[in-house]
């Protein structure tokens, strides 16, 4: 009898222990977050995922990190409502920066949680960024916080942009320099700032031009007058000819000025270019043209330019 | 306090011999139980040998009644410091790696019987009392008989 009681006791102890060990952590977590919340507050968790360059509101854990593709965050805040921002990193060091709401830049270390309590006071759409280079798709690690008045409906999200998702891809087959340039443009995450096909328009806080200028008009800015001129240059580059050899029979006027421009574009890619501030006393803009000289060879840069030259929508075409 | 062999009376020696057969039988049964359902062949051999030990015990018991009559003195093999005959597995890992073959069971038993034979012979050499000496001789001969039984088994298995 005593033995049987001991067996039952031990069995119950085991089961209770297993249930407690498995579920109590969740209860504890819920309680400890609740303790820190002012009345009426909401919680928004943003987790940085370096592999895809995403801030996501979805739950990222040891179980799903390896196979899931996390949707980019689009948090909705309400004017006057306290909001606990829980900033996490699922992998490497990130920095959270939402200049419009005066949050950050804050370093977010992997496996730690950074709690920030904010109460927005005005409506608006506020860009947030990662400001620590966290990987190839780092510059795509952006999003918008919507601050709405209490009760106003949440506007439908813009159709998902292709540039939100970054993926490694193998280099293209064949010898085409333009195709290789297109691949490099994607592979190095250039599109995350400069837009898909260099269309630009990505907002950059306190940047003199507000949004990142397009690259699709690079041909024009490099003083190529027309489509024929661009074709001649791209053609020569596909043949891997030295552009200087074209000087004897220049394909268009001001060819030498073009060559000078070509050099300075290459220099910008190689050495980077800090963005001008709109408000000189303000913080530097979060997005910045980085020096790519360490990662890109001379040929890589040539290929990139060749690709960009094909993007120009000459007269008559749609912009 | 365990006793040494030279302090035993003839009556006690015979009782000890009976106990030895008894404990061997139980030992064989214990092994048979463990191997039952695991290695039936081995278990069968152990069972067979346990029955054989029972038979030896009966023979000795009859002799005891004839010679001394009455009940056995309370003497267990454990009470005597010397080991007379003790069948045992020879390797602690037999059951893990299946190294105990049915044939080996006979060999182990044979080893024990030979040990007993040797033991009684030595006791015979040291015994001063002629009744005791006669008893030891008898026991040694009996063990020789057991040994040849097992040798026969080994030959035919």
């Amino acid at each position: 009898m005593r033995e049987t009681m001991a067996e039952i006791g031990a069995g119950l102890l085991t089961l209770a222990g297993i249930i407690a060990a498995t579920f109590y952590p969740f209860v504890y977590e819920a309680k400890s977050v609740e303790k820190r919340l002012p009345p009426g507050a909401q919680v928004i968790t943003l987790t940085g995922v370096a592999a895809t360059g995403t801030w996501t509101e979805e739950n990222v854990d040891g179980g799903n990190y390896w196979y899931r593709h996390f949707a980019p965050a689009r948090p909705v805040l309400r004017v006057g409502q306290p909001t606990l921002l829980r900033l996490k990193s699922a992998d490497v060091n990130h920095s959270f920066y939402c200049p419009g709401l005066a949050v950050g830049p804050l370093e977010v270390h992997p496996g730690h949680v950074l709690d920030v309590l904010i109460t927005p006071i005005r409506e608006g759409v506020f860009e947030f960024y990662c400001t620590t280079i966290c990987g190839d798709p780092h510059f795509g690690m952006r999003g918008q916080m919507l601050v709405l008045r209490e009760g106003s409906p949440i506007p439908a999200a813009e159709p998902a942009k292709a540039d939100k998702f970054w993926q490694e891809s193998p280099p293209p087959p064949g010898q085409s320099h333009v195709a290789r340039g297109a691949w490099l443009f994607h592979r190095n995450g250039c599109f995350t700032c400069h837009g898909v096909k260099g269309k630009g328009g990505v907002p950059n806080w306190n940047y003199i031009k507000d949004t990142i200028p397009p690259l699709s008009t690079l041909a024009e800015r490099m003083l190529i007058p027309d489509k024929e001129g661009a074709d001649a240059i791209v053609g020569a580059m596909e043949r891997a000819a030295d552009l200087k050899t074209l000087s004897s029979d220049p394909p268009f006027a001001r060819f030498n000025a073009f060559l000078a421009q070509y050099q300075s574009v290459k220099d910008v890619i190689r050495k980077g270019n800090p963005p001008g501030k709109k408000d000189p006393k303000g913080l530097p803009p979060p997005l910045e043209m980085l020096p790519f000289g360490m990662r890109l060879s001379d040929r890589d840069i040539d290929d990139l330019i060749a690709y960009l030259l094909t993007l120009e929508p000459w007269e008559g075409g749609d912009k | 306090m365990s006793r040494t062999l030279d302090t035993l009376s003839p009556r006690e020696v015979l009782a000890l011999a009976i106990h030895v057969e008894q404990s061997n039988s139980r030992r064989f049964r214990a092994f048979a139980e463990v191997f039952q359902g695991y290695d039936p062949d081995v278990a069968k051999r152990f069972e067979e040998l346990a029955a054989e030990e029972d038979h030896h015990e009966q023979l000795l018991d009859a002799q005891f009644r004839k010679k001394f009559g009455g009940t056995l003195p309370p003497l267990d093999q454990v009470d005597v410091s010397d080991v007379v005959e003790a069948v045992d597995l020879d390797d602690g890992e037999h059951l893990i790696f299946d190294t105990l073959k049915p044939r080996r069971v006979y060999e182990l038993a044979l080893k024990a019987e030979r040990g007993a034979q040797e033991f009684y012979r030595k006791a015979l050499a040291q015994a001063g009392d002629p009744t005791l000496a006669a008893l030891y001789r008898e026991l040694a001969e009996m063990e020789t008989g057991h040994a040849s039984f097992l040798e026969e088994k080994l030959r035919t298995s």
Binding site: G17, I18, G62, S89, D91, P110 | G92
Partner: protein
């Protein structure tokens, strides 16, 4: 060997003092009966609830770890599962538990918990039964215990360490993935619990532990070195014992769950220190001894020998991978991060071929050379019962593989030392915040990662490695003397192996401190 090189010594007049070969080293092993020396320990291990009390906390931690693996942070260094299991536990196992307490891990291991619970239908008590009444009642009676489940016997072909050898090698091939991915760890550890449970239902007692568990394999090999053993006290008492409770079980306890015959146990390899025999022995004749390091010296089969090869190869490969200057090898091993499948296959092929073929072959050569070199012409008249003049090659091989046991174990300890020093500071961090959810239970969650590698680390590593070599050479030479008797033949036979061991030792030294 004379220091003057190859000058032959005159045979007729031996140099003074070397007339008779010195007597072969005699083992005078000391033993201290721990249960006699420590009565509270004896009281404890004799309790029926002893093992349950040790396993339960371990099991609950384990369940918590599995939860953190799935729901905690994916960051390995901040997830308690990764830090505790693969950094802390591994270090504790190889450098403390095994050398100091043999297979004490098996006493507290949570893997077979559920299986054993179902199989025994009990957590604490023992289900003793009269074998004559075996048919009355459910389950199967083995010895004098009743078990539930099918209690099949383990297939004969697998009654060895090969499943464990291959399983361990397989797990080690993917070790880089455990260390970074909590999910993989959850699958592996959860899978082991599942397999253990299923096997307990199908096969008798601890078949899983004896033949399948990949951890068990190396525990069994290296527990030979341990300073602790479970043994019988008096051989005579066991010889006279009629009941064989240690084997057959009974009311007081279960028959040895590891299929050992504890009374005749000579090696630690397959003893899981469950203390059942201490409880079942009717004469109180089983105990726990303290003994010298490296007291079990017999390798019994090729499966055990290969286990030793695999362990040393892995120690070498890991040292090259993590401590060597070749970063590309690390990338090859870590295929899911780097996606270099060709490199990964090269790594896998290299690892498996070296562990299973190359290293054993390289080791065999000096064994064979020594065996040939020390061969003598057998006498024309063979005396029955006398040991052959030339021991068989297989025996020589098995005996000379033994040195790899202390050698490999010390290499592992030496390899693990800097790992725990570098990553040790994660332990207080994850203790305070096991899930990486921002908790701070003990106020240690925000300690900075501080890789403490004191300047004396390499000295300790060198010391450990040299200890390993010392024990390897000592035990190898002893085996040689045991086979050949005469000192010069023993030296001849063992010298080539000793040279190889020294060369491997130098490779380790160069990798660790060079």
């Amino acid at each position: 060997m004379s220091p003057s090189g190859n000058i032959p010594q005159p045979l007729t007049e031996p140099a003074p003092g070397s007339a008779a070969p010195p007597p072969a080293p005699v083992d005078k092993p000391w033993r201290i009966d721990l249960l006699r020396a420590l009565p509270p320990l004896k009281w404890l291990v004799k309790r029926r609830w002893f093992q349950f009390a040790v396993v339960l906390p371990n099991l609950l931690f384990f369940m918590l770890f599995l939860t953190t693996g799935v729901f905690g942070t994916p960051v390995g260094s901040r997830n308690i599962l990764i830090v505790f299991v693969w950094i802390f536990w591994w270090f504790l196992l190889i450098s403390a538990m095994v050398p100091l307490a043999s297979r004490v891990w098996c006493t507290m291991c949570p893997f077979p918990f559920f299986g054993e619970w179902i199989q025994r239908g009990a957590l604490i008590r023992s289900r003793g039964v009269d074998p004559k009444k075996a048919k009355e009642g459910p389950g199967v009676v083995v010895g004098r215990n009743r078990y539930f489940g099918l209690n099949w016997r383990w297939p004969k072909a697998l009654s060895n360490l090969w499943v464990q050898n291959i399983g361990f090698l397989f797990l080690c091939t993917f070790s880089a993935h455990f260390l970074t991915r909590p999910l993989v760890s959850v699958i592996v550890l959860g899978g082991l619990i599942l397999v253990a449970t299923v096997l307990h239902l199908l096969y008798r007692q601890r078949a899983f532990c004896n033949y399948v568990c990949p951890v068990s394999g190396f525990l069994s090999l290296y527990s030979m070195t341990s300073v602790v053993e479970v043994r019988s006290k008096e051989a005579d008492t066991c010889a006279k014992c009629k009941d064989k409770g240690c084997l057959a079980g009974g009311e007081k306890g279960w028959g040895c769950p590891w299929f050992m015959y504890p009374s005749k146990m000579e090696r630690n390899n397959y003893c899981g220190l469950c203390m059942e025999c201490v409880k079942t022995c009717p004469y109180d004749n089983m105990t726990v001894n303290l003994r010298p390091f490296c007291s079990d010296t017999k390798i019994k089969g090729l499966d055990e020998a290969w286990k030793a090869f695999i362990m040393v190869t892995l120690a070498l490969v890991y040292s090259v991978l993590y401590l060597g200057p070749w970063g590309f090898l690390k990338d090859w091993a870590n295929v899911f991060e780097k996606g270099n499948w060709a490199g990964f296959f090269a790594y896998v092929a290299g690892l498996w071929v070296s562990a299973l073929v190359l290293f054993p072959a390289i080791y065999f050569l000096p064994v064979w050379a020594g065996w040939r070199w020390s061969r003598q012409k057998p006498p024309t008249i063979v005396i029955l019962g006398q040991a052959p003049v030339n021991p068989p090659l297989k025996e020589t091989f098995l005996r000379f593989v033994y040195p790899l046991v202390p050698f490999g174990m010390m290499a592992w300890v030496s390899f693990s030392l800097p790992l725990i020093l570098v990553n040790g500071s994660y332990i207080p961090m994850v203790l305070s915040d096991p899930f990486g959810w921002g908790w701070d239970l003990f106020g240690t969650a925000h300690l900075a990662w501080s890789p403490v590698v004191p300047h004396w680390t390499p000295y300790v590593q060198v010391f450990l490695l040299l200890q390993g070599l010392y024990f390897a050479l000592k035990q190898g030479y002893r085996h040689s003397v045991a086979m050949y008797g005469a000192r010069n033949r023993a030296l001849k036979a063992f010298a080539p192996v000793a040279v190889l061991l020294t060369v491997i030792e130098i490779a380790f030294l160069v990798l660790y401190v060079g």
